[in-house]
């Protein structure tokens, strides 16, 4: 005699089904209908069990659902690297998933590790992007929100984060939440063409999937991230975009009859995200070592970004990068508004010299910002004012970085320190752009410059460093002579 728990459909609304029966059902138990459609128990009411359906199709009243032995979980293993899967672990890249027998099954909804399993964030997460690494540094294990308006370059930035992790032993996980299939396809092509798929897992639920499946995407992404983190690796987890997740959760909650709160979001929308982000962090060896650096992405209307969802997410993350489409239209890349971006944890991870340089640059930017206003009212400016404004112009050009380029931390320090030397004071923006490319190259080739680059960490103060760098200007200028520079040539920079 075979015994199972069953429930019968009393009502159904789209992807939400209410069952009568299943006396010992628990939240997140998997259930299967007579016709083979799967769902999971999302809530337990007094006389009914609420089930969210994973598979689409018509559910008839009175249909029987059986409770299965498994809970909402996913199979994981090393075979996930280089693959694209949906939140239930089913492959969506056209290839069959090869479970090797060494895979483990883990529940999606797990409690975050508590404080005694974590350690301080002390190591910098190197993005390879000068502006971020120097001015708004991120630490390994930090949660940094990326928010901005539409077409401000957020997704391109996150893709660059992945591309720049080549040869750094970082596992990248990209969670595509409710995006159109066309966008997902082009992302997969970019990752494949650049070889980034070798260390990346893509977890995606497109906009045409059932709402419950889209809702599960971030949970699956964190579960997979935890698998790799427990094997001692550093993980970069990108959630694009968390606003879609909130909207889907709102849709599910309104359908299930939950009382709507502010902006019609249910009251626990904060918890839905906070309990996920708590799973990121830097962990002790007893908990597997490794780290999970979470980068949630949120599209907002910058004219009014202090609304419910953005303020929630800013409150539960360790900083934010604000992208502005106006900056992008002006040609700035990445289009980050430095004055409105924050990092709460990253500075403690920066090397001393870069930290000092960052302070110097911020001082320059603040001074230049004041002087820019004054300069509009005066035609004859004092020398110091003109110098500061010129340095700001040089800095803006040096902070600009094309997509898919990676600059090492040492080269970032050198490039930005050149702002405080006379080398660029007589050059226009176009020349600076061309010079930058040449400089990145010569510091790996010229013996004197190479030697200087290797000894960068010996410098105690930024002033000494800038003095020594100034002495090398004649060497650099040799390569930057007018006949040696052709700004129209785009040189693809290979990084050490």
């Amino acid at each position: 005699m075979n015994q199972q728990e069953v429930g019968y459909v009393t009502s159904s609304r789209d992807f939400l089904v209410f069952l009568d029966g299943m006396p010992t059902a628990k939240i997140n138990d998997l259930v299967i209908s007579e016709s083979g459609k799967r769902g999971w128990v999302s809530a337990l009411h007094k006389n009914e069990v609420e089930v969210l359906m994973l598979d689409e199709g018509v559910i008839n009243p009175g249909e029987m659902f059986k409770r299965s032995d498994s809970r909402l979980s996913i199979s994981m293993g090393e075979y996930l690297l280089g693959r694209a899967v949906n939140p239930m672990g089913v492959s969506i890249d056209g290839k069959r998933l090869m479970a090797t027998g060494k895979d483990i099954r883990s529940e999606l909804d797990r409690k975050a590790p508590n404080i005694n399993m974590r350690k301080f964030i002390t190591e910098q997460f190197v993005t390879g992007i000068t502006l971020v690494d120097t001015l708004i540094p991120i630490g390994k294990g930090q949660r940094e929100l990326v928010l901005g308006d539409a077409h401000s370059g957020k997704t391109a930035f996150t893709v660059d984060l992945i591309l720049n992790q080549r040869d750094r032993n970082v596992v990248c996980i990209y969670a595509s939440i409710g995006k159109p299939i066309s966008q997902l396809k082009s992302l997969l092509e970019v990752l494949k063409d650049t070889g980034a798929m070798a260390y990346t897992v893509v977890i995606a639920a497109s906009s045409s999937e059932a709402a419950p499946l889209i809702y599960l995407t971030p949970q699956t992404a964190f579960t997979v991230a935890e698998y790799f983190q427990k094997s001692g690796r550093d993980v970069l987890l990108i959630l694009d975009d968390i606003g879609s997740h909130a909207k889907i959760y709102r849709e599910i909650s309104l359908l299930s009859g939950k009382t709507p709160g502010r902006e019609s979001y249910p009251g626990d929308v904060f918890y839905q995200h906070s309990h996920l982000f708590e799973r990121a962090g830097n962990f002790k060896d007893e908990n597997g070592g490794g780290s999970i650096t979470a980068i949630p992405v949120l599209e907002v209307n910058l004219a009014d970004f202090a609304t419910y969802l953005p303020t929630n997410l800013v409150g539960m993350t360790d900083g934010h990068l604000l992208f502005n489409s106006n900056y992008r239209n002006q040609g700035r890349s990445p289009a980050i508004d430095i004055s409105l971006s924050v990092t709460r944890v990253g500075r403690q991870t920066q090397k001393r010299l870069q930290n000092l340089l960052s302070s110097l640059i911020r001082e320059l930017m603040a001074k230049a910002s004041e002087l820019q206003t004054i300069s509009k009212f005066s035609s004859e400016l004092p020398f110091q004012t003109r110098l500061t404004l010129k340095q700001k112009e040089v800095l803006d050009e040096l902070l600009n970085q094309e997509n898919s380029t990676r600059i090492s931390l040492q080269m970032q320090i050198i490039l930005l320190s050149l702002t405080f030397t006379p080398i660029f004071l007589d050059k226009d923006a176009e020349s600076i752009k061309g010079s930058k490319t040449v400089i990145l190259d010569i510091f790996t080739k010229d013996p004197a410059l190479k030697d200087f680059l290797e000894k960068i960490e010996d410098f105690e103060s930024i002033e000494d460093f800038i003095k020594k760098l100034t002495l090398l200007i004649p060497v650099i200028n040799k390569y930057l002579m007018p006949q040696n520079i052709n700004p129209s040539i785009q040189v693809q920079q290979k990084q050490p």
Partner: protein
């Protein structure tokens, strides 16, 4: 009064489907009789087919009890009957064949005698996939006494036995 009418209905009604149809038929007849209005339109073909048997059953309902139902107690009586349906936990039996009326009566009587509860009603569904035997679901627990479950249980033994007759 409510209990008397309920017991009279349940005297020869064993399945949930029959119970609901007969209660509906009784309600329609009484509405016409007491309030001179009814939702039952004799011209409606589909309704006729569904309720004809039940209407026939109402004709054999105890007239003395029927006469005790008046405009004052009509609503309470049917609320009580609705409450009985909503509160009762139905036993569902899965058959591989469609049972006829006599078989339903036999099973109904057997259930009531075995459980010692004269008011038990059951629901039945047809599942040919069970191959033989039956399965029962009650209060959310599904117990499979079918041939399919037995075969699944003894799969290894059956494979071994069949294997003896296969030419290698």
């Amino acid at each position: 009064m409510e209990e008397k009418i309920l017991n009279e209905i349940l005297k020869d009604t064993f399945t949930l489907e029959d119970f609901k149809k007969r209660v509906m038929a009784l309600k329609l007849v009484l509405e016409k009789k007491i309030f001179a209005s009814s939702q039952y339109k004799s011209g409606s073909e589909i309704e006729n087919k569904a309720l004809d048997n039940s209407m026939l059953w109402v004709q054999y309902f105890d007239k003395n009890i029927l006469n005790e139902i008046t405009g004052e107690n009509f609503r309470e009586i049917f609320e009580h009957i609705d409450h009985f349906i909503s509160e009762s936990t139905t036993l569902t039996i899965y058959f591989v064949f469609i049972p006829d009326e006599n078989q339903i009566k036999e099973i109904g009587h057997w259930l009531r005698d075995s459980l010692g509860k004269p008011n038990v009603i059951f629901d039945y569904k047809i599942d040919p996939g069970l191959i033989g035997g039956c399965a029962i679901a009650y209060k959310g627990i599904y117990k499979d006494y079918s041939l399919k479950a037995k075969i699944r249980q003894e799969k290894t033994l059956l494979k071994e036995e069949f294997g003896k007759y296969l030419r290698h």
